[in-house]
Symmetry: C2
Subunit: 245 residues, 2 copies
């Protein structure tokens, strides 16, 4: 495939570019994508084996140097597209990491982006044996400061998912309430009461009944719902939540 060749070439170029940056005393800038997926009731993250000697066999986030006339967000989208083939995905900037010595080859400031995708929707593209969905819960060491970046993005996600409707990006377009609850329980690492969970989402009034039901389940099939983003957008957000810390 064209994309694959492009990637390989790119990998070789990066080392050259970094060497150049370092010898010129210039700060490089990259984006790193923390791509989350949800599968088998576990939160997963898309990783690749590092191509640096120093980090041989360590996992690394998907990232790249930012091109000269490319917005940061564009660069993140480019990486997502290259690696997952997906276009319209949830993507948000989380934080910049700029410690002077975070990259062994040169000074590189990286902007971390967090992305949520539905794992089923691109499954086809994982023949690439470097690319791997890894459980977040069992991850140990990683290349660079990527463990720190991932941890921070995970905490960000835990908080964010309680205040904004982004969890749905990890699920199929229609989903059962059980799936939704499993998602929240997995990400937040809590047990939730089923009845209260349903009540909460129903009273929000943002779930649309599709009229469809689960299929091929060895028990009573659940109703399938869809999240109504338009209705959510129109809702006025309150900026006063109450002081609590």
């Amino acid at each position: 495939m064209v994309a694959d060749n492009a990637l390989t070439t790119r990998q070789k170029n990066i080392k050259t570019i970094l060497k150049q940056l370092e010898s010129d005393g210039i700060i490089g800038i990259s984006v790193d994508c923390v791509i989350f997926g949800f599968d088998e009731n576990e939160l997963k993250v898309l990783l690749i084996k590092s191509d640096l000697e120093k980090f041989r066999d360590k996992w690394s986030l998907l990232g790249d140097l930012v091109n000269n006339h490319e917005d940061l967000r564009e660069a993140a989208y480019r990486i997502l597209k290259e690696r997952t083939g997906l276009n319209d995905v949830y993507l948000e900037q989380v934080k910049a990491f700029g410690e002077a010595n975070r990259h062994p080859a040169a000074r590189v400031v990286t902007i971390a982006y967090c992305s949520l995708i539905n794992i089923q929707h691109h499954q086809l593209k994982i023949h690439d044996n470097e690319l791997h969905w890894h459980k977040v819960s069992t991850l140990k060491e990683m290349a660079f400061d990527h463990r720190k970046i991932l941890s921070l993005c995970y905490e960000w996600l835990q908080k964010r998912i309680q205040e904004h409707p982004l969890g749905f990006s990890l699920l199929p377009k229609t989903f059962s309430l059980r799936e939704l609850q499993n998602l929240y329980e997995a990400i937040l690492d809590v047990k939730l009461d089923r009845r209260n969970f349903r009540k909460k989402f129903f009273t929000m009034g943002l779930l649309e009944d599709t009229g469809e039901f689960e299929a091929n389940v060895p028990h009573r099939p659940g109703k399938l719902y869809r999240f109504n983003y338009e209705k959510y957008q129109k809702k006025e957000r309150k900026k006063w939540f109450g002081i609590d810390f």
Copy 2:
């Protein structure tokens, strides 16, 4: 003063450096500090007149290019120190801004930091007639994309101040509950019930009674309190707040 000469030299250098970056097709990295203060019951921000022709007479945030072996956070601290003389201030990264055309002279990605300081503590340093505390509420146009950066940092502050004890950085070490309430009301642009506000903070158990009282007020003097950061640190944070969006 030495610092002032250093600054002037630096300003001249920046233009040269930017020109160089642009001609070499290199992305520059800067930090911009949104420095908030609280005075006369208004939220203020520390600004300077832009030194670019294109933005003549427009207000600009305080920022600078990041030095080669300097962490991002260090760079932000350096700017704070240079401009306010203050050392131990509240400082937090908010977001990176990296649109390809956000700076007219060259491609510059900037990392926005938000800082909260007590306006009284450095008042002496504002002879510099460029430097100016500006009401946040009445700010219109600004240089670069600084209006956008400021707005975002202000929204960040509104949210953050409800969940974390950073408002105290805007007040003297000891303060009355009235001052604290004024602060919250000004930043959040809401009216709060005095008795409920007090109840909230007292039941949190993080305010220490200093035994002191306000002086020179034309009414019954209020007690002065101090925020107990140690106690706050020890408190275990809950990661489950409840889904609400």
